[in-house]
Symmetry: C2
Subunit: 349 residues, 2 copies
């Protein structure tokens, strides 16, 4: 299996974000929504740190420090124009806002369209881990890079929008696809809350390869039939809702891609998920596990569903893991997971 | 909205495949599994047409005609080695087999990894529509292109495998992702039936952007929460199973990506699907419809669920259409579909 994807999500370690407390750790394995341990208040973590006025930056609101620096870790201060500015606060003609999915994360997993979009962007905004994965020619061609380490997609997205409203062409990036547990929706919601419109900034989503597909490719062909994706993070979706969804789909023949399967703060969600799956599916159902796809610590394992509960406390399963649960027809052959689509019932081969 | 994806699937017009009858039209909107109107018998449609021995081709079994030609449309004949050859029939060392997802279809939607894989492949096998979309530098660098128009992924996949077993490095292509209603599984199943193994041909899947993501990007942010994909084709999955799955997920808060929504042969599946959705969701639920994404006849519409049943008989919905059904929180704003992820309940913005 080749290496092309750093699936990501909330780390299970302590937040590196120094601002305020982190009671609700949101996570995601796909684009942009990396690992927010951001609080619900105006933590301004990473936003509006206002150290220098960037050379060519047209930031009408706050301006950031230069590339690879950010105020993450420091409490908010010196905000000339704090997060929360509205469209009224900007007097320039708005620029452009693209939500760009990097796919697996490594440059080889990006689409040509994503590369072109990033090459044309004046400002690139994203989680440090992904910014670091961008090819040099892209980061060097940007006027400014705004990256924050593990500090929350809400403030970062807000910063991206402020920059676009201030007249810059901005790309906000994330791994996977902007539509999979990621920031395409958040960008539109914040834009609306600021009194802006999507049209005003020519908002566009540049799709990428989601983690389910990147991980599925590593496992063989686990997902070729009807499939569902479920996140076990109950930060934004109540656990009873997640449980109800798991019951509903486990009882049907869906293959199931599980995002954000485990973190220290909600290990019981993973155990509950395993219980529900085992209520509906035999213990020998194949389950594919991809940990840290594309990273140095990548691991790809195929196990039986019955073994899954015991793996929750191992290094194999954390927020960088995507789990693909087979259906009643899925089998393992030559180290690959295969979910037949049903051709064998119609064709001779 | 930009144009980058020819979603595909079975055409609703008559089969162009002259071989035998076509009682079960299988379709797909993603990689490779384009539009099989292939029969269950050894139609050999497109396979083993054996016109010429390709120059550098190491085809130990049948060899094909050159690029952009195929036997599709003719009945099978002159098969020196018909579809059905096993690993025993090949005396060369096996080559390599990659299942490559092109993503949206246009070159700009391909990943760098997919481009590199195709540039290195000796033989490229695929549905003519996708082969035609490949950049010239890729098709020109291949020793042989084997493409068939609308003639079935089973025989085409078998041909690809025979070529790999005969010692060639083969890439079999399709739009979207090889794991989404597509040929990654079929390739492994056929390989097994021939007595081969995945390891023998270094089988690898190169993922691509699925149609749900390409179409989601066009619509804004319809899919940022738990999502399910369901195909309405009952060629390989019985309709009662499809109905049961639709009931299960429509009753929960999943956003739903509907693949293969309509064809002339099963228009009642679409109507049944609409009925089920309307049993569980309000008539004003937003529904995004993307027809012929990336094609000249692309149309993007956002309608209410209550309007959907009447659209089945229009040009908007056919096998080149992907339909994205919102959940109870989805709304339309500034021409975009937005499914909130729940941030607004936790954050001030």
């Amino acid at each position: 299996m080749s290496t092309d994807e750093p699936t990501t999500g909330e780390t299970s370690t302590d937040s590196k974000c120094g601002a305020s407390t982190s009671d609700g750790a949101e996570a995601s394995t796909d684009a942009g929504a990396d690992a927010s341990t951001e609080t619900g208040t105006e933590s301004a973590c990473g936003a509006s740190t206002t150290d220098t006025d960037e050379t060519t930056s047209k930031c009408g609101a706050s301006s950031s420090t230069g590339s690879s620096s950010s105020g993450c870790g420091a409490s908010s201060s010196d905000d000339e124009q704090a997060v929360g500015s509205t469209v009224e606060d900007f007097d320039a003609d708005p620029g452009r806002l693209l939500a760009v999915g990097l796919g697996p994360g490594q440059p080889e997993g990006m689409t040509s369209r994503a590369k072109a979009a990033l090459s044309e962007a004046e400002h690139i905004v994203g989680y440090t881990t992904y910014v670091d994965l961008l090819p040099d020619e892209i980061t060097e061609s940007a006027d400014d890079i705004y990256d924050t380490p593990m500090c929350g997609e809400v403030s970062r997205t807000e910063e991206a929008i402020d920059r676009a409203l201030a007249g810059n062409d901005v790309a906000i990036i994330g791994s996977g696809d902007p539509n999979v547990y990621a920031l395409a929706g958040l960008a539109l919601e914040i834009l609306e809350s600021k009194g802006g419109t999507a049209s005003m900034v020519d908002f566009e989503v540049v799709p990428g390869v989601p983690a389910a597909q990147s991980c599925g490719a590593r496992l063989g062909a686990p997902l070729v039939n009807d499939t569902v994706s479920v996140s076990l993070s109950d930060h934004l979706t109540p656990m009873p809702t997640i449980e109800s969804r798991l019951h509903a789909v486990a009882g049907e023949g869906f293959t199931i891609a599980i995002y954000n399967p485990w973190s220290r703060k909600r290990r019981e969600n993973f155990q509950k998920c395993c219980e529900i799956l085992l209520e509906h599916r035999p213990a020998d159902t194949p389950v594919g596990i991809v940990h840290g796809a594309g990273r140095e610590d990548e691991q790809v394992e195929i196990v039986d569903l019955g073994e899954l509960p015991d793996l929750g406390e191992t290094d194999l399963i954390d927020m960088t893991t995507t789990i693909l649960v087979g259906n009643e027809d899925t089998y393992v052959w030559d180290g690959r997971m295969v979910t037949p689509r049903g051709y064998e019932s119609k064709y001779d081969y």
